[in-house]
Amino acid sequence: MIKKVIFVVTSFLLLIPGLNAAVDIQEFETPNGIEVWLVEDHSNPILALQMFFLTGSVHDPVEKEGSTYMMMGLLEEGTDDLDAVGFQIEVEELGARFDFNTYKEAVAVSAQMITENLEPSVDLLRKALEQPSFDSEPMERVRGQILTNIDFDEKDPEEIAFDAFIDIMFGDHPLNRKREGNKTSITNLTREDIIAAYQNALVRGKVVVGAAGDITADQLGELLDGLLGGLPDTTPPVVPALALPQEGHVETIDFPTPQSTIVFGHRGLIRNDPDFLMAYVLNEVFGRSGFNSRLQKKLRVDLGLTYGIGSFLSTYQTGGMVIGRMATANQTVNEAIDAIRQEWAKIANEGITQEELDTIKMYLKGSYHLRFKTNEDIAGILAGMQLDNIPASYVKHRNDMIEAIELGDINRVAKNLFRPEELVFVVVGQPDTPS
């Protein structure tokens, strides 16, 4: 099945930056060599698993765009001995919750299972991963769903704006391939293409697992070897290097709507950059902290131009970006763009203040453990950290690292991170011509 998610421009980064949480992470390899992190918690009889396989839509062959996405959508649509409806009925009987997702650089399998049904639930998931049927019934239905979703996206100003922005940033690089593919590629995908995507992606050569809930490490190791042991032990191919553009401009896409959607930004840092944590903290001050970010203060609170504006850091293995989005009436687009440019120049030139730094430190330190709330949250964080090569010990030291940040250092990073002359704006709507 294919779900519609609004925009997954960013890969995983928003999961990570954390604080010293009171979670005890057990890090181990299963007998078959699968890397897994576990937070054991027996207070509720459920287990949450999050698995990432490091092949994503970036690995789709040319003209086969969307094959990984469609393949993942078909994993819960029938196995060798169950048709699509039969498979879903089993899931419902067991009260299991499976989710299969595709990102640009990874595919994700997540599961939540009730302890009393754990064994049959894991067995059902194993069949989905090992013996998907890719029959024509679910395949044509899911193809129709993807085409319908592409139809919806084509007229969604937010999607149009993000796609155009990503197209400017990624150009010919395979990261520019939409995970959902395009109408032509989806229409032409064959069962063989889906099987090829399956053989590329569902391999245990590079899989990371986060788990949280009602299970011990020994039980989990055995469970995972049973679940993934049947998959081949190959690794995904390497993605070419990425060079992001460095020239700013404004691009307008005509769309009949009273309010324009604006996506803006430029190149940024990769997750493993030594300055990444400071960049993250800067963006919290600048565009991510609810009503109190600089962008919100200026454009919503002072100017009343928008219901909401925000920015985030988007990271991939080979490159990163600073991206923002907002919507404003067609008449006020130019005023909004001017205000964004001013804020961008201000933080680049002057950095942030000691007071802003102190406030954001308190917020980031105090809020970290709130992220480790449910088993599902924890499993997701643990798997996301492994995906980004962040050590488990980060959870214990993260708040100290934040505390240690000094104003001079972070403002040096601000100058490097925010580049007003490189700002690309994509406006989707019918804005007034600049006066």
């Binding site: 099945m1 294919i2 779900k3 519609k4 998610v5 009171a22 207070s43 509720n44 009889p45 459920i46 819960e76 699509a84 409806v85 879903q88 009925i89 419902e92 009987e93 009260g95 919750r97 044509e140 239905r141 129709g144 769903q145 085409l147 319908t148 979703n149 139809d151 919806f152 007229k155 100003p157 009949p256 709507t257 009273p258 309010q259 609810g290 009503f291 109190n292 203060k297 919503r300 609170v301 009343g304 928008t306 219901y307 919507a327 404003t328 009436a329 406030t359 308190m362 917020y363 980031l364 330190k365 105090g366 809020s367 970290y368 453990h369 709130l370 480790f372 709330k373 449910t374 599902e376």
Partner: protein, 448 residues
């Protein structure tokens, strides 16, 4: 396969009661202060976190005539400063605690949520109690925030043909009840909202007697009660508080159709809303049967009756779904939609939808299917315990929707008590098309 095409799913499944308990759970305590403030404490020691949500029994249905959007406007102004705090300071203070806060308005209620580490509970109470009575209305802030809600309307509604269709459908379905008017408001009325409107509305509805405080998470009832007395106990409620009279729908006597054309439409679909008459929906057993019936018919993608027939067997649809919203205390609406497969017309999709409904009534309810849904209802209760917020929201919504704690707690049991016969009887409402409006979302064909 579940549909996440539009936020539809939110409407269909927003009955939070779905994960309720069989009886008032042991970890729930109730109190009432002398000034009328009701307090619900739900213990959940899963994580050292507390969720503090203050619910006011005032929703968009309470907007005075000609002032649609006022309830939601006041919700925005709650962040704009009090006698003791500057505009924006509420957020700043919560942020310094590392906390998360948000607010929401629907047709029945307004809620203010803060989630923080347990040690900050007292500070949160002090701040929330302050803005129950001390809001200042600075003219320049009020006008600026009115611009913000107008932008919010553009972003949430006017930018989306699906949202506009739903707004038109509700406006057509309801003939007397304020549910026909959108929570965000009609634009021309939003433009006319004034500082005086907001001030008098706030005075009338924001006081202890009209509120319920729900605190859930790593807390103990005595501790919460003591703090609540300290911070909320001295606040006063007006003596002459009177709510608007409850408006009822007249009998619906005509099938309605809405054809919504928009150049921004790329995928067409059929969306029908049924109004369930109060004499049926106000009975708890009937309503539970309706909830389960809707789940059997279209709640779960390809394993539901609509999904299996139209997407898997006949292949005339890419997505189908059904859901319901409402309570015994307020209007109940059933939603059904079909997104046709490529090459299938809306006319055919609607005819097939009606065929499935007629067949469902003829063939009855499959016992295995019903049993499976009941199992899922039970399992969903286990999952819900993973986050203390779930129970808090469930009882909070129950309060603003006019339900007692006991009624909210009983809901799951009522669904589990349904049988094939009661579920089938509930489906008969789907035959009364005079209670319904059917919408077609259409591509606008522009003439060359």
């Amino acid at each position: 396969m579940t549909l996440r095409i539009f936020t539809l799913i939110g409407i269909l499944f927003c009955s939070t009661s779905y994960v309720g308990a069989l009886e008032v759970p042991e970890n729930l305590s109730q109190f009432e202060l002398d000034n009328g403030l009701k307090i619900i404490v739900i213990e959940n020691h899963r994580a050292p976190i507390v969720n503090h949500t203050l619910w006011y029994d005032v929703g968009a249905s309470d907007d005075p005539p000609g002032k649609s959007g006022l309830t939601h406007f006041v919700e925005h102004l709650m962040f704009e400063g009090t006698k003791n705090t500057e505009a924006g300071e509420f957020d700043n203070r919560i942020k310094l605690m590392g906390g998360f806060n948000t607010a929401f308005t629907n047709q029945e209620g307004s809620g203010y949520t803060v989630e923080v580490s347990t040690e900050y509970l007292e500070q949160v109470m002090e701040l929330e109690a302050d803005r129950m009575v001390n809001l200042t209305f600075k003219p320049e802030l009020v006008l600026r925030e009115r611009d913000v809600i107008l932008e919010e309307r553009k972003q949430r509604v006017d930018s989306s043909p699906s949202s506009l269709l739903r707004e038109q459908l509700s406006a057509t379905l309801f003939q007397n009840h304020p549910y026909g008017i959108p929570t965000i408001g009609w634009e021309h009325e939003m433009r006319s909202l004034t500082l005086e409107d907001a001030k008098s509305f706030y005075k009338k509805y924001y006081h202890p007697k009209n509120a319920t405080l729900v605190v859930s998470g790593d807390v103990y009832p005595d501790q919460v009660l003591e703090l609540a007395k300290k911070y909320y106990g001295h606040l006063e409620s007006p003596d002459d508080f009177e709510r608007r009279p409850k408006l009822l729908e007249p009998p619906h006597m005509a099938e309605r159709r809405v054809l919504f054309r928009d150049p921004r439409v790329s995928a067409e679909y059929v969306f029908r809303k049924y109004y369930v008459p109060t004499e049926i929906a106000s009975d708890e057993e009937n309503l539970a049967a309706i909830a389960v019936m809707v789940e059997v018919l279209g709640g779960s993608g390809i394993t539901s009756v609509l999904g299996e027939k139209l997407t898997v067997e006949e292949k005339i649809a890419t997505y189908t779904g059904a859901g319901f919203i409402g309570d015994v205390t307020r209007p109940v609406v059933i939603n059904i939609y079909v997104v046709p497969a490529q090459g299938v017309s809306l006319e055919e999709a609607e005819a097939k939808m009606d065929e499935v409904i007629a067949g469902f009534l003829e063939e009855g309810v499959d016992k295995d299917h019903l049993d499976r849904i009941k199992k899922q209802i039970k399992y969903s209760r286990i999952y819900a315990q993973d986050d203390a917020k779930n129970a808090a929201m469930e009882y909070g919504y129950g309060f603003v929707n006019g339900l007692t704690v006991e009624q909210t707690a009983a809901w799951t049991g009522q669904m589990l008590n349904t049988d094939e016969k009661s579920v089938l009887e509930a489906a008969e409402i789907l035959l009364s098309k005079n209670n319904s409006v059917t919408g077609w979302l259409l591509k606008e064909v522009t003439e060359q």
